[in-house]
C-alpha cells in the first residue's frame, strides 16, 4: 500500500506540471500588457513600466515560464499587489475557512444523500422512491447561488433565524459558529447531496440483483443488514467515483457560496482579486485549488483499494484525474 501511494504521488507530478502550464498560459492570454490592465486606466506610464519589470513581463516568455516554475517549486506563488502580501500567505489565511465550509457541506451531503439513495433503492418504484428521485433531480438542477439567496431571504431576512453573512468565531461560542455555518453549508451541499442520492440508488439497484445478495438473504440475514452491509459496500465504488468529482464541485461551488455569504475563504479571495484585477492572486489561488483537487483525488483512489479488494495494486494504471 505504501509503495502504491508513493508511486501514485509520482504519477501526479505530470498532472501538476500540466496544471501549472495551463495556468501560465491562461494568464498570458490577457490582451495587451497585464500590468496596464492590473493598474487600470488611470495609471501613469512609469507605474506601468515599474510593474512590468516587477512581474518580469519584460523578460522573454520562456524565461518568464522558467522563473514561474522555479518559484512554484520553492512554494512561491507570487506576491499580491493589492494586499502587498505573498499569495501563499493570503491562501493559508483563508484555506482553512474554505475547508471548514466544504467539509460541513460534504458531511451533510453524505449523511443525507447516501441514506436517501439507499431507501429509494430498497423501496424501488414506491411513492417514497419517486419523491426522493424528484427532489434529487431538483437538487442537481439547482443554481446554488440562487438557492443561497433564497435561503437568506427566507431564514435571515424573513425569519431572522440565521445570520445572512459572515463566519462566526469560536470566541462567540459554538452556537453562533454553527449558526453562521448552516446556511452556507446547506447551499453548498445541495448538488453533491442530490448527486449522491442518485448514484447511490442506481448502483444499489445494480447490486441488489446480484446472486450474492440472494446468498445473504438465504442465510437468513435481515433485510436491513443485507442492504446496509452487503449491498452498500459493493455499491461504494461508483459512489467513490462520484465523490472525487463532487470534491471539484464543492471547491467550485465554494466560490459562489462564499460570495453570497461573505465567507472569508478562498473563493471570496478569488472574487475580490478579480474585482481588484489582482491577477497574481487569481493565478496563485486557482493553481492552489487545482493541486488540492488532484491530491484529494489521490485520496479517493486510495479509498478504492480499501473498499474494493478486487482492485489490483499493480495493474491499475492511474489516469490521475
Amino acid at each position: 500500500m505504501g509503495k502504491y501511494i508513493i508511486r501514485r504521488l509520482f504519477d501526479l507530478l505530470p498532472t501538476v506540471f500540466v496544471v501549472a502550464v495551463i495556468v501560465f498560459i491562461i494568464t498570458r492570454l490577457i490582451p495587451g500588457n497585464p500590468a496596464a490592465v492590473m493598474l487600470g486606466p488611470t495609471a501613469s506610464v512609469e507605474d506601468i513600466e515599474k510593474l512590468t519589470t516587477q512581474l518580469g513581463l519584460d523578460q522573454p516568455l520562456y524565461k518568464q515560464f522558467f522563473d514561474y516554475l522555479l518559484g512554484l517549486l520553492q512554494g512561491d506563488f507570487g506576491t499580491s499587489l493589492s494586499y502587498n502580501q505573498p499569495v501563499v500567505q493570503l491562501i493559508m489565511e483563508r484555506f482553512p475557512n474554505t475547508v471548514i465550509l466544504a467539509l460541513a457541506a460534504l458531511i451533510i451531503a453524505l449523511l443525507i444523500g447516501i441514506p436517501a439513495g439507499m431507501i429509494s433503492a430498497a423501496r424501488q418504484n414506491s411513492a417514497l422512491d419517486y419523491g426522493v428521485m424528484l427532489v434529487s433531480l431538483l437538487g442537481v438542477s439547482m443554481p446554488i447561488f440562487w438557492l443561497g439567496v433564497m435561503l437568506v431571504l427566507f431564514f435571515s431576512v424573513n425569519l431572522g433565524w440565521f445570520p445572512a453573512t459572515g463566519m462566526g468565531t469560536l470566541d462567540d461560542g459554538w452556537i453562533s459558529y454553527i449558526k453562521h455555518l448552516i446556511l452556507p453549508s446547506i447551499t453548498l451541499a445541495t448538488i453533491p447531496m442530490a448527486t449522491f442520492a442518485r448514484i447511490t440508488r442506481s448502483s444499489m439497484l445494480e447490486v441488489i440483483s446480484q446472486e450474492y445478495i440472494k446468498t445473504a438473504r438465504a442465510k437468513g440475514v435481515a433485510e436491513f443488514w443485507v442492504i446496509s452491509k452487503h449491498v452498500l459496500k459493493n455499491a461504494l465504488t461508483p459512489i467513490l467515483t462520484v465523490l472525487g468529482m463532487q470534491i471539484s464541485m464543492l471547491l467550485g461551488g465554494a466560490v459562489l457560496t462564499e460570495t453570497i455569504f461573505s465567507w472569508p475563504g478562498m473563493g471570496r479571495l478569488i472574487v475580490d482579486a478579480i474585482d481588484k484585477r489582482d491577477f497574481v492572486v487569481v493565478q496563485g489561488t486557482v493553481l492552489f485549488i487545482a493541486i488540492i483537487f488532484v491530491l484529494v483525488n489521490l485520496l479517493v483512489d486510495i479509498l478504492y483499494k480499501v473498499v474494493n479488494p478486487r482492485v489490483n495494486y499493480e495493474s491499475s494504471k492511474g489516469g490521475g484525474q
Binding site: Y212, K214, A218
Partner: protein, 337 residues
Amino acid sequence: MSENLLSIEGLDVEFRSSSSTVKAVNGVNLTLKKKETLGIVGESGSGKSVTATALMQLIPSPPGKISSGKILFNGTDLLTLSKKEMRAIRGNEIAMIFQDPMTSLNPVFTVGNQIIEAIRQHKKLSKKEARLEAIEMLKTVGIPEPEKRIDMYPHEFSGGMRQRAMIAIALSCNPKLLIADEPTTALDVTVQAQILELMKDLQESNDTSIIMITHDLGVVWEMCDNIIVMYAGTTVESGSVETIFKNPLHPYTWGLLESQITKDVQHNEKLPAIPGSPPDLRKPVPGCPFVDRCPYSAEICHTKKPEYIEVEPGHFAACHFQTATSRLEKKEGMFVD
C-alpha cells in the same frame, strides 16, 4: 415409511408487470422425506428455480407473488410465518447453494466473514468461537489450509473452491434441507464430480435432505432418489429415479432422456434439442402446455389440460395418453440403464 420433511401443495407463483402476468409456477406438488434427495429437472424457464426460491420465500416482491398453495416444512406451513420466523429458518433449517460460485459469494468480504456471518446469524457464539467453527467447516468441505484461506477474498479462490465455500456456508448450521440450484453447472467436469461426492458425504454424515435442481440427468442418476420433471411451470411427471429412467410416461421426459443419451451426457451443455420452445407463460393455454412440441399430440391435448394422476404406485404423470400402450411400444426399454 418415514414422515415427510417437506411437502408442497398446489404452489402458484406469479410475476406481474404493468402489461402482463406470468404464471411461472402453476400448481406444483412435491414431497420430500428425511435424508432423501429429490431432483427437479426441466429446461430453463420451466419454473424449477422459482419453486426453490418460493420455498425460501426469496421471490422478489414486487413483481413476484406466491398466489396460492401450501409449503409444509416439518408440519408448519412456511407461508403463514412472519418475516422474522422465516428468517430463523432460512440458512438454519433450510439452506441454499447456487449455480455460479463466481457470483454467489460477496466479492468485498472475506470468505471467512461470510461463513461466520451465517453461523452467528443462527447460533449464539462469540466471533472467536464462530471463527473456529468456520475453519472447521472449511476443513469439512475439503479446503486445504483453512486457517489461511479463511481470510482470503472470493476472487482468490478457484471455482471449485468457491462452491466448496458456498457449501460450507450452507451447511454451517446443519440444515435439515439443502436446496442446490444447479450446483455444478458452472464447474469443470472433474470438479463437478468432486462437489457431488462432497455433497453426498455431507448428506450422509448430517442426515440432510437435498433438493437438487438441475437439467443434467447424469447428476440426477448419480445423486437422487426421486425426481420431478417440470415443464412450463407445472409438474409433468414424478417418481423414483429408477421408475422414471426405465419407464418414462410423459413425452417431454422421453425427449429429455433421449437428448441426454444421444449427446453422451455432455455435462456442460444446456438442455437440448427437443424441437420447438416452451409456451409463452403470459398467455395461458387451455390444453396441455407441451402440445406444440409433442410428437404424439391429439385433438384432446389442445382443448383439455391433462390431469396429474398416479399411474402406478409413486409414479405420477400428466399426459392424456400415459396408458396408451400402443404408442409406448416403440419407446419401451430404450432408456434402461
